[in-house]
Symmetry: none
Subunit: 401 residues, 2 copies
């Protein structure tokens, strides 16, 4: 019996409101041994106040030592076992540009490449063609027509674009056509099952027609396809938790991930303050709110300790606007750590806060990685955050008599 | 390899004695944010002394956020995965009144109801018939005879009673006959497999004969059946842990749960002091002792913070009598939390103590929820308590060479 079988069986409804604030890449590392992390160095009076009245904990995104990408990181926070529900690269790429992948769709990451007269690859990235040149080419490929499948082509950036096939009985079990080297032609798409063979046949036809449409291009006269994948069959928040859920985010990737679990995308905010505006406006229409703040991760990825600390302070600044809404359960967490010293995602646990009338106060007086180690939520895997949120909102009944 | 496969393989025997004291619903919540819990407010000098010399920990009954009923809560403490071993409602009800359910038995929760001349339900609880009137009626139903199955009928309380069928090849996969509304007749028992069909046929015959026996009753002239279930196939303590186990409890429910895992019920104590008398008397006859104290849970369920604190103090008072027996391993825990502020079971972790010559002393100076967070046993799921107990009693060998 997995955790969703439990929540499906035990879920009840009431008027409670749950807010999950996600500061992307929140956790960090000290710059010097024994020094503070980005969070420890930041002035966070509002988060510290929440730590005093709430329960803290140390959240393990996937399993100890495993660094998550954005997809698995968020699936974990949303309570979906990231080792069970795999989001293929094609689907993640399509999701990341805001394309709404539907059940049965096959999404593929494509690269423009340069082919010589014999059809051999001379540049796997078509000279890193700038986006202003590649986007119209991607749009041109929408002229491709394939029997029994609708074709979508969406530009991404530079040499990258996305193709989605929508039709009956297509599958994602197809190998990449990028040979990962030059001097050879793109590979034939090799399928490993019947549904994959239908996709591979569509891919061959796509490549043939695209070749004609791109024939006069100096650099981007060919293409390779990678990450063939279908949308994973994810149950919705309504189904597994009984909540109507809203997602408030600036970047398409996070909207897309939220959409995969059935959240509705609300508003079109461009800043954190605008995200909180949207939260206020949508307050009466949903039970659950996922609010995503990107820049803690971005500045960590930049390797800029100081700037990441400042982003955490900016995040702290909006907390009073959220608590003023009086949510039944308020969660503050991150999808993973992004220490500036590593300039990348990491496996380190994420300090996490849960504030509710039903929470057991612990001894934490500050919101920080080290304080969270002794917190009342303990050390726990991300997938248990949603059951904890529902329990504290009195939305889960008793298991067994 | 699950934990019982491990303990089966590694278990050894010696003269050690393990005592598990369970204060039902032990964990609590503060009355005001930052205030003490029921345990924190209680004067517990003896438990605090144990915390100083032992190892504390924070026990998660099932999984984070999941509130257990008494059945799953105790199965967890006994080391049986409560998500794997499901105790059906009928079996739990029979167990709760002290009926010894045997392998293959089908137990059913029944309600007396009132039927009109057309056989439609007019009152699903037979006017909440008082127990002194319903108990003789239940006894009268023992006259029912069914081919190929022995029939047991036991009164419970008011309109409730229990029926157990004992025979070959009976199953529990049968739907309730209670339509959950009035104005319609009781439903036919719908079975979902062959064993269920045999049970359903027995149920139909029971209902038909019972109808005749109850025909002259003004209120309780019909019945509905719910929670058809067979005893789960639980290995015994002797099999999985190699210990001869005794259960000392006042209430039938906990004796019944202990019996399901092969413990022997010892004595007929009516108070906590009498339970410790029984413990002393039985000391030489068993390796393991489960001692259950009910009233911490009862006062929590009442929502009475002060009274629950007093019950914890009463529990603390008997500790010296237990330590005087010099158990090899002494465990103090609860099957779940029952915060007075919620007046119900809850999902919050349970502070837990383990005292043994082999335990690694931690920094805890008090027995409390917040102190236990930093204890040497860490944050752990209930099913690991028994392996820890056996290990500290030197009853588990090395895994692998």
């Amino acid at each position: 019996m997995d955790i969703h079988e439990l929540t499906r069986e035990l879920k009840t409804t009431n008027d409670s409101k749950i807010v999950m604030l996600v500061a992307d890449g929140l956790g960090g590392l000290p710059q010097t041994p024994g020094g503070p992390t980005e969070l420890g160095a930041a002035e966070t009076p509002n988060l510290d106040n929440l730590a005093k009245i709430g329960a803290s904990g140390s959240l393990v995104p996937i399993k100890p030592g495993i660094t998550p990408g954005s997809g698995p990181g968020h699936l974990g926070l949303f309570g979906y076992d990231p080792l069970k529900y795999i989001i293929g690269r094609g689907v993640l790429e399509a999701t990341g540009i805001g394309f709404k992948v539907e059940p049965g769709d096959v999404a593929i990451r494509c690269n423009f490449c340069t082919l010589d007269a014999e059809g051999k690859i001379t540049d796997r990235r078509a000279g890193r063609i700038p986006t202003e040149n590649s986007a119209p080419l991607a749009a041109k490929l929408r002229e491709v027509k394939i029997p029994n499948a609708e074709v979508f082509v969406e530009p991404v950036k530079e040499h990258r674009f996305v193709v989605v096939f929508r039709g009956q009985g297509l599958g994602g079990n197809v190998e990449d056509t990028d040979p990962q080297k030059t001097g050879v032609p793109p590979l034939d798409p090799v399928a490993h099952d019947e549904a994959g063979r239908r996709t591979a046949e569509a891919a061959r036809q796509f490549v043939a027609q695209a070749g004609k449409l791109l024939a006069d291009q100096p650099a981007a006269n060919g293409l390779t396809m990678r990450g063939f994948s279908v949308k994973p069959d994810l149950p919705t928040y309504e189904e597994v938790y009984g909540v109507k859920a809203a997602a408030i985010a600036v970047y398409p990737m996070y909207k897309g991930l939220a959409q995969l679990v059935g959240m509705e995308i609300v508003g079109q905010p461009g800043t954190l303050d605008e995200e909180i505006d949207v939260l206020e406006q949508a307050w009466n229409d949903y039970d659950f709110f996922f609010v995503h703040f990107k820049y803690t991760d971005s500045r960590g990825e930049d390797g800029d300790f100081q700037a990441k600390s400042q982003m955490i302070e900016e995040f702290d600044r909006v907390i009073p606007r959220v608590t003023a809404l009086n949510p039944t359960v308020l969660i503050v967490t991150g999808d993973h750590s992004t220490p500036a010293s590593l300039a990348s995602h990491s496996w380190h646990p994420v300090p996490t806060l849960l504030v509710a009338d039903t929470c057991r106060t612990d001894a934490c007086l500050r919101f920080s990685e080290v304080d969270a180690l002794g917190g009342g939520l303990g050390h726990f895997e991300a997938v248990y955050l949603m059951p904890l949120a529902l329990a504290h909102a009195n939305r889960l009944g008793k298991f067994g008599a």
